[in-house]
Symmetry: C2
Protein backbone atom coordinates (compact mmCIF):
# COMPACT_ATOMS: atom_id res chain seq x y z
CA UNK A 1 0.00 0.00 0.00
CA UNK A 2 1.57 3.23 -1.20
CA UNK A 3 1.07 6.35 0.91
CA UNK A 4 2.19 9.70 -0.49
CA UNK A 5 2.56 12.82 1.65
CA UNK A 6 2.64 15.87 -0.61
CA UNK A 7 4.83 18.68 0.74
CA UNK A 8 5.14 22.34 -0.23
CA UNK A 9 7.02 25.32 1.16
CA UNK A 10 5.79 26.59 4.49
CA UNK A 11 3.68 23.54 5.40
CA UNK A 12 3.03 22.71 9.08
CA UNK A 13 5.19 19.78 10.16
CA UNK A 14 2.78 18.00 12.50
CA UNK A 15 0.08 18.01 9.81
CA UNK A 16 2.32 15.70 7.80
CA UNK A 17 4.14 13.76 10.52
CA UNK A 18 1.05 12.84 12.58
CA UNK A 19 -0.58 10.83 9.76
CA UNK A 20 2.81 9.48 8.64
CA UNK A 21 3.50 8.10 12.11
CA UNK A 22 0.19 6.20 12.07
CA UNK A 23 -0.08 5.12 8.42
CA UNK A 24 3.55 3.98 8.15
CA UNK A 25 2.72 1.34 10.78
CA UNK A 26 0.03 -0.31 8.66
CA UNK A 27 1.08 -3.76 7.42
CA UNK A 28 2.61 -3.47 3.95
CA UNK A 29 2.59 0.31 3.96
CA UNK A 30 5.23 2.21 2.06
CA UNK A 31 5.33 5.98 2.59
CA UNK A 32 6.91 8.50 0.24
CA UNK A 33 7.27 12.21 0.96
CA UNK A 34 7.08 14.13 -2.32
CA UNK A 35 7.18 17.76 -3.47
CA UNK A 36 7.37 19.66 -6.74
CA UNK A 37 11.15 19.38 -6.51
CA UNK A 38 12.82 16.57 -4.55
CA UNK A 39 14.96 17.73 -1.63
CA UNK A 40 14.49 19.50 1.71
CA UNK A 41 11.23 21.41 2.16
CA UNK A 42 11.07 24.06 4.90
CA UNK A 43 8.13 24.17 7.27
CA UNK A 44 6.22 27.29 8.35
CA UNK A 45 8.62 28.15 11.18
CA UNK A 46 11.68 28.07 8.93
CA UNK A 47 13.52 26.04 11.55
CA UNK A 48 12.69 22.56 10.28
CA UNK A 49 13.17 20.93 6.90
CA UNK A 50 11.73 17.57 5.90
CA UNK A 51 13.17 15.82 2.90
CA UNK A 52 10.94 15.15 -0.10
CA UNK A 53 12.49 11.94 -1.40
CA UNK A 54 10.59 12.14 -4.69
CA UNK A 55 9.46 14.77 -7.15
CA UNK A 56 5.69 14.79 -7.61
CA UNK A 57 6.21 14.17 -11.33
CA UNK A 58 7.72 10.77 -10.49
CA UNK A 59 4.72 9.72 -8.39
CA UNK A 60 2.00 8.74 -10.80
CA UNK A 61 -0.33 6.94 -8.40
CA UNK A 62 -0.85 6.02 -4.77
CA UNK A 63 -3.35 4.30 -2.53
CA UNK A 64 -3.48 7.00 0.14
CA UNK A 65 -2.75 10.67 -0.51
CA UNK A 66 -2.09 12.94 2.49
CA UNK A 67 -2.11 16.70 1.93
CA UNK A 68 -0.96 18.75 4.94
CA UNK A 69 -1.80 22.41 5.52
CA UNK A 70 -0.05 25.43 6.93
CA UNK A 71 0.54 29.06 5.96
CA UNK A 72 2.05 27.81 2.69
CA UNK A 73 -1.40 26.71 1.58
CA UNK A 74 -2.10 30.24 0.35
CA UNK A 75 0.61 29.89 -2.30
CA UNK A 76 -0.04 26.19 -2.87
CA UNK A 77 -3.66 26.68 -3.96
CA UNK A 78 -2.46 28.79 -6.90
CA UNK A 79 0.43 26.47 -7.77
CA UNK A 80 -1.06 24.93 -10.92
CA UNK A 81 1.44 22.07 -11.11
CA UNK A 82 0.68 20.99 -7.53
CA UNK A 83 -3.08 21.40 -7.80
CA UNK A 84 -3.25 19.57 -11.15
CA UNK A 85 -1.13 16.77 -9.68
CA UNK A 86 -3.51 16.45 -6.72
CA UNK A 87 -6.52 16.26 -9.05
CA UNK A 88 -4.89 13.66 -11.31
CA UNK A 89 -3.60 11.56 -8.41
CA UNK A 90 -6.94 11.66 -6.61
CA UNK A 91 -8.57 10.02 -9.63
CA UNK A 92 -6.62 6.83 -8.82
CA UNK A 93 -6.41 6.83 -5.01
CA UNK A 94 -8.30 4.62 -2.61
CA UNK A 95 -8.26 7.47 -0.07
CA UNK A 96 -7.55 11.17 -0.49
CA UNK A 97 -6.96 12.99 2.79
CA UNK A 98 -6.04 16.39 4.13
CA UNK A 99 -5.07 17.88 7.46
CA UNK A 100 -5.78 21.45 8.54
CA UNK A 101 -5.79 23.91 5.62
CA UNK A 102 -4.63 21.15 3.29
CA UNK A 103 -8.34 20.86 2.51
CA UNK A 104 -8.03 24.16 0.62
CA UNK A 105 -5.68 22.40 -1.80
CA UNK A 106 -8.24 19.63 -2.28
CA UNK A 107 -10.77 22.41 -2.84
CA UNK A 108 -8.57 24.12 -5.42
CA UNK A 109 -8.30 20.77 -7.20
CA UNK A 110 -12.09 20.72 -7.46
CA UNK A 111 -12.57 17.79 -5.11
CA UNK A 112 -14.77 19.32 -2.41
CA UNK A 113 -17.57 20.99 -4.34
CA UNK A 114 -20.86 20.14 -2.62
CA UNK A 115 -19.17 18.09 0.11
CA UNK A 116 -18.79 18.52 3.84
CA UNK A 117 -15.18 19.06 4.91
CA UNK A 118 -13.08 20.53 7.68
CA UNK A 119 -10.00 22.71 8.12
CA UNK A 120 -8.31 24.81 10.79
CA UNK A 121 -10.98 26.78 12.68
CA UNK A 122 -9.47 30.09 11.54
CA UNK A 123 -9.90 29.32 7.82
CA UNK A 124 -13.55 28.30 7.43
CA UNK A 125 -14.39 30.96 4.84
CA UNK A 126 -11.41 29.99 2.69
CA UNK A 127 -12.53 26.36 2.70
CA UNK A 128 -16.12 27.25 1.85
CA UNK A 129 -14.96 29.39 -1.09
CA UNK A 130 -14.36 26.07 -2.87
CA UNK A 131 -17.98 24.99 -2.58
CA UNK A 132 -17.48 22.86 0.53
CA UNK A 133 -19.59 23.09 3.65
CA UNK A 134 -17.52 23.36 6.84
CA UNK A 135 -18.20 20.74 9.47
CA UNK A 136 -17.17 21.13 13.09
CA UNK A 137 -16.39 17.42 13.31
CA UNK A 138 -12.71 16.65 13.87
CA UNK A 139 -12.57 14.08 11.06
CA UNK A 140 -14.97 14.30 8.12
CA UNK A 141 -15.37 11.40 5.70
CA UNK A 142 -17.20 11.85 2.41
CA UNK A 143 -16.74 8.78 0.28
CA UNK A 144 -13.01 8.33 -0.22
CA UNK A 145 -12.18 11.89 0.85
CA UNK A 146 -11.27 12.35 4.52
CA UNK A 147 -10.45 15.81 5.88
CA UNK A 148 -9.14 16.56 9.35
CA UNK A 149 -9.34 19.73 11.46
CA UNK A 150 -6.27 21.72 12.51
CA UNK A 151 -2.74 20.33 12.82
CA UNK A 152 -2.98 17.65 15.54
CA UNK A 153 -6.28 16.30 14.13
CA UNK A 154 -4.28 14.42 11.51
CA UNK A 155 -3.47 11.79 14.13
CA UNK A 156 -7.16 11.12 14.79
CA UNK A 157 -7.84 11.14 11.04
CA UNK A 158 -5.10 8.62 10.34
CA UNK A 159 -6.24 6.28 13.13
CA UNK A 160 -9.77 6.42 11.72
CA UNK A 161 -8.38 5.62 8.29
CA UNK A 162 -6.18 2.83 9.69
CA UNK A 163 -9.34 1.23 11.09
CA UNK A 164 -11.07 1.47 7.71
CA UNK A 165 -8.07 0.05 5.84
CA UNK A 166 -6.77 -2.64 8.17
CA UNK A 167 -9.51 -3.20 10.74
CA UNK A 168 -10.06 -1.98 14.26
CA UNK A 169 -7.69 -4.43 15.98
CA UNK A 170 -4.76 -3.26 13.88
CA UNK A 171 -5.68 0.40 14.35
CA UNK A 172 -5.81 -0.11 18.11
CA UNK A 173 -2.37 -1.76 17.98
CA UNK A 174 -1.02 1.31 16.20
CA UNK A 175 -2.67 3.53 18.80
CA UNK A 176 -1.02 1.80 21.75
CA UNK A 177 2.21 1.49 19.72
CA UNK A 178 2.41 5.29 19.65
CA UNK A 179 0.94 5.39 23.17
CA UNK A 180 -1.80 7.75 21.99
CA UNK A 181 -3.67 8.14 25.25
CA UNK A 182 -3.86 11.93 25.11
CA UNK A 183 -3.87 13.85 28.37
CA UNK A 184 -3.50 17.52 27.48
CA UNK A 185 -2.69 19.54 30.62
CA UNK A 186 -5.36 22.11 29.66
CA UNK A 187 -8.81 21.78 28.14
CA UNK A 188 -8.41 24.47 25.50
CA UNK A 189 -8.12 22.56 22.23
CA UNK A 190 -11.16 24.01 20.46
CA UNK A 191 -12.43 27.54 19.97
CA UNK A 192 -15.34 26.89 22.31
CA UNK A 193 -13.16 25.38 25.03
CA UNK A 194 -10.41 28.01 24.76
CA UNK A 195 -12.79 30.97 24.83
CA UNK A 196 -12.55 34.34 23.05
CA UNK A 197 -9.58 35.83 24.93
CA UNK A 198 -7.29 32.88 24.17
CA UNK A 199 -8.51 32.73 20.57
CA UNK A 200 -7.65 36.44 20.17
CA UNK A 201 -4.11 35.65 21.36
CA UNK A 202 -3.76 33.07 18.58
CA UNK A 203 -5.17 35.33 15.89
CA UNK A 204 -2.93 38.25 16.93
CA UNK A 205 0.10 36.01 16.65
CA UNK A 206 -0.98 34.57 13.28
CA UNK A 207 -1.40 38.09 11.90
CA UNK A 208 2.02 39.11 13.13
CA UNK A 209 3.76 36.27 11.30
CA UNK B 1 14.88 31.05 24.01
CA UNK B 2 16.91 28.40 22.25
CA UNK B 3 15.35 24.95 21.82
CA UNK B 4 17.52 22.12 20.52
CA UNK B 5 16.10 18.83 19.25
CA UNK B 6 18.86 16.22 19.18
CA UNK B 7 18.44 13.70 16.36
CA UNK B 8 20.12 10.35 15.70
CA UNK B 9 19.66 7.59 13.14
CA UNK B 10 16.44 5.63 13.46
CA UNK B 11 14.63 8.05 15.77
CA UNK B 12 10.82 8.20 15.77
CA UNK B 13 9.61 11.27 13.90
CA UNK B 14 6.60 12.19 16.03
CA UNK B 15 8.73 12.09 19.20
CA UNK B 16 10.64 15.07 17.80
CA UNK B 17 7.98 16.87 15.76
CA UNK B 18 5.27 16.88 18.46
CA UNK B 19 7.34 18.96 20.93
CA UNK B 20 8.77 21.06 18.08
CA UNK B 21 5.28 22.01 16.92
CA UNK B 22 4.38 23.23 20.42
CA UNK B 23 7.67 24.79 21.58
CA UNK B 24 8.35 26.62 18.29
CA UNK B 25 5.17 28.63 18.97
CA UNK B 26 6.45 30.06 22.26
CA UNK B 27 7.20 33.78 22.03
CA UNK B 28 10.88 34.32 21.21
CA UNK B 29 11.55 30.62 20.66
CA UNK B 30 14.20 29.56 18.18
CA UNK B 31 14.41 25.84 17.41
CA UNK B 32 17.41 24.03 15.99
CA UNK B 33 17.49 20.39 14.93
CA UNK B 34 20.97 18.99 15.50
CA UNK B 35 22.75 15.67 15.08
CA UNK B 36 26.31 14.35 15.28
CA UNK B 37 26.70 15.30 11.62
CA UNK B 38 24.57 18.03 10.04
CA UNK B 39 22.33 16.86 7.19
CA UNK B 40 19.36 14.54 6.70
CA UNK B 41 18.72 12.01 9.47
CA UNK B 42 16.52 9.00 8.66
CA UNK B 43 13.73 7.99 10.99
CA UNK B 44 12.91 4.46 12.15
CA UNK B 45 10.76 3.62 9.11
CA UNK B 46 13.46 4.62 6.63
CA UNK B 47 10.88 6.53 4.62
CA UNK B 48 11.33 9.94 6.21
CA UNK B 49 14.38 12.13 6.68
CA UNK B 50 14.47 15.27 8.80
CA UNK B 51 17.32 17.69 8.28
CA UNK B 52 19.68 18.40 11.15
CA UNK B 53 20.62 21.99 10.40
CA UNK B 54 23.49 21.94 12.88
CA UNK B 55 26.16 19.56 14.08
CA UNK B 56 25.98 18.89 17.81
CA UNK B 57 29.53 20.17 18.17
CA UNK B 58 28.34 23.63 17.03
CA UNK B 59 25.62 23.75 19.68
CA UNK B 60 27.28 24.58 22.96
CA UNK B 61 24.22 25.53 24.98
CA UNK B 62 20.44 25.78 24.87
CA UNK B 63 17.53 26.64 27.12
CA UNK B 64 15.43 23.59 26.28
CA UNK B 65 16.84 20.27 25.15
CA UNK B 66 14.49 17.73 23.55
CA UNK B 67 15.70 14.16 23.12
CA UNK B 68 13.38 11.91 21.08
CA UNK B 69 13.35 8.14 21.21
CA UNK B 70 12.86 5.31 18.77
CA UNK B 71 14.56 2.05 17.85
CA UNK B 72 17.77 4.05 17.26
CA UNK B 73 18.03 4.64 20.98
CA UNK B 74 19.74 1.26 21.37
CA UNK B 75 22.72 2.50 19.35
CA UNK B 76 22.46 6.06 20.67
CA UNK B 77 22.99 5.07 24.30
CA UNK B 78 26.43 3.69 23.42
CA UNK B 79 27.34 6.62 21.15
CA UNK B 80 29.83 8.30 23.47
CA UNK B 81 29.94 11.58 21.52
CA UNK B 82 26.15 11.94 21.70
CA UNK B 83 25.83 10.88 25.33
CA UNK B 84 28.69 13.15 26.44
CA UNK B 85 27.12 16.04 24.52
CA UNK B 86 23.80 15.45 26.27
CA UNK B 87 25.48 15.43 29.68
CA UNK B 88 27.47 18.60 28.96
CA UNK B 89 24.51 20.45 27.44
CA UNK B 90 22.21 19.44 30.30
CA UNK B 91 24.54 21.20 32.74
CA UNK B 92 23.50 24.53 31.17
CA UNK B 93 19.85 24.00 30.19
CA UNK B 94 16.78 25.43 31.87
CA UNK B 95 14.86 22.28 30.88
CA UNK B 96 16.08 18.88 29.72
CA UNK B 97 13.35 16.72 28.19
CA UNK B 98 12.84 13.39 26.51
CA UNK B 99 10.07 11.62 24.67
CA UNK B 100 9.56 7.85 24.59
CA UNK B 101 12.84 5.92 24.83
CA UNK B 102 14.76 9.19 24.60
CA UNK B 103 14.84 8.88 28.39
CA UNK B 104 17.32 6.02 27.97
CA UNK B 105 19.75 8.52 26.45
CA UNK B 106 19.25 10.81 29.46
CA UNK B 107 19.87 7.73 31.59
CA UNK B 108 23.06 6.87 29.74
CA UNK B 109 24.21 10.45 30.35
CA UNK B 110 23.80 9.82 34.07
CA UNK B 111 20.89 12.23 34.50
CA UNK B 112 18.18 9.93 35.85
CA UNK B 113 19.87 8.09 38.70
CA UNK B 114 17.47 8.06 41.65
CA UNK B 115 14.74 9.93 39.78
CA UNK B 116 11.27 9.01 38.58
CA UNK B 117 10.99 9.01 34.80
CA UNK B 118 8.95 7.53 31.99
CA UNK B 119 9.46 5.92 28.58
CA UNK B 120 7.56 3.79 26.07
CA UNK B 121 5.63 1.11 27.97
CA UNK B 122 7.61 -1.66 26.23
CA UNK B 123 10.98 -0.41 27.54
CA UNK B 124 10.52 -0.05 31.28
CA UNK B 125 13.38 -2.39 32.22
CA UNK B 126 15.81 -0.57 29.93
CA UNK B 127 14.93 2.75 31.56
CA UNK B 128 15.28 1.34 35.07
CA UNK B 129 18.72 -0.07 34.23
CA UNK B 130 19.95 3.53 34.52
CA UNK B 131 18.83 3.87 38.12
CA UNK B 132 15.51 5.55 37.33
CA UNK B 133 12.16 4.46 38.70
CA UNK B 134 9.49 4.11 36.00
CA UNK B 135 6.34 6.12 36.54
CA UNK B 136 3.09 5.38 34.73
CA UNK B 137 2.33 9.09 34.50
CA UNK B 138 2.31 10.46 30.94
CA UNK B 139 4.57 13.38 31.78
CA UNK B 140 7.03 13.17 34.66
CA UNK B 141 8.76 16.28 35.98
CA UNK B 142 11.71 15.99 38.34
CA UNK B 143 13.28 19.40 38.81
CA UNK B 144 14.33 20.58 35.36
CA UNK B 145 14.10 17.12 33.81
CA UNK B 146 10.81 16.29 32.11
CA UNK B 147 10.28 12.88 30.52
CA UNK B 148 7.28 11.86 28.41
CA UNK B 149 5.80 8.45 27.71
CA UNK B 150 5.68 6.89 24.22
CA UNK B 151 5.75 8.88 20.95
CA UNK B 152 2.58 11.01 21.04
CA UNK B 153 3.12 11.92 24.72
CA UNK B 154 5.65 14.51 23.60
CA UNK B 155 2.77 16.82 22.69
CA UNK B 156 1.36 16.69 26.22
CA UNK B 157 4.87 17.11 27.65
CA UNK B 158 5.57 20.18 25.52
CA UNK B 159 2.25 21.81 26.41
CA UNK B 160 3.02 21.23 30.09
CA UNK B 161 6.43 22.81 29.57
CA UNK B 162 4.94 25.71 27.57
CA UNK B 163 2.75 26.46 30.58
CA UNK B 164 5.74 26.41 32.93
CA UNK B 165 7.83 28.62 30.62
CA UNK B 166 5.31 31.13 29.30
CA UNK B 167 2.23 30.77 31.49
CA UNK B 168 -1.04 28.95 31.13
CA UNK B 169 -2.74 31.53 28.87
CA UNK B 170 0.02 31.25 26.27
CA UNK B 171 0.09 27.46 26.51
CA UNK B 172 -3.67 27.34 25.94
CA UNK B 173 -3.24 29.61 22.91
CA UNK B 174 -0.73 27.14 21.49
CA UNK B 175 -3.12 24.28 22.22
CA UNK B 176 -5.99 25.81 20.28
CA UNK B 177 -3.54 27.02 17.62
CA UNK B 178 -2.72 23.38 16.86
CA UNK B 179 -6.36 22.47 17.55
CA UNK B 180 -5.28 19.85 20.07
CA UNK B 181 -8.69 18.64 21.16
CA UNK B 182 -7.89 14.96 20.79
CA UNK B 183 -10.68 12.59 19.86
CA UNK B 184 -9.08 9.23 19.12
CA UNK B 185 -11.58 6.93 17.40
CA UNK B 186 -10.66 4.09 19.77
CA UNK B 187 -9.85 4.00 23.48
CA UNK B 188 -6.74 1.88 23.22
CA UNK B 189 -3.88 4.29 23.90
CA UNK B 190 -2.45 2.59 26.98
CA UNK B 191 -1.54 -1.01 27.77
CA UNK B 192 -4.43 -1.27 30.19
CA UNK B 193 -6.96 0.17 27.77
CA UNK B 194 -5.73 -1.82 24.77
CA UNK B 195 -5.65 -5.15 26.59
CA UNK B 196 -3.26 -8.10 26.22
CA UNK B 197 -4.29 -9.28 22.74
CA UNK B 198 -3.71 -5.89 21.14
CA UNK B 199 -0.47 -5.43 23.08
CA UNK B 200 0.75 -8.80 21.76
CA UNK B 201 0.08 -7.57 18.21
CA UNK B 202 2.36 -4.57 18.83
CA UNK B 203 5.12 -6.62 20.41
CA UNK B 204 5.05 -9.18 17.59
CA UNK B 205 5.49 -6.41 15.07
CA UNK B 206 8.25 -4.71 17.04
CA UNK B 207 10.17 -7.99 17.18
CA UNK B 208 9.82 -8.51 13.44
CA UNK B 209 11.35 -5.13 12.59
Amino acid sequence: MQVVVALFDCFTALDAVGPYEVLSRLPGASVVFAATTAGPVRTDTGSLAIVADAALSKVTSCDVLVVPGGPGTRAAVIDKALVDWVAATHAKTAWTTSVCTGSEILGAAGLLNGLEATTHWSRVAALESYGATYSERRVVQQGKIVTAAGVSAGIDMALTLAGLIAGIERAKAIQVGIEYDPQPPFDAGSVTKAGPEIVDLVLARATSR
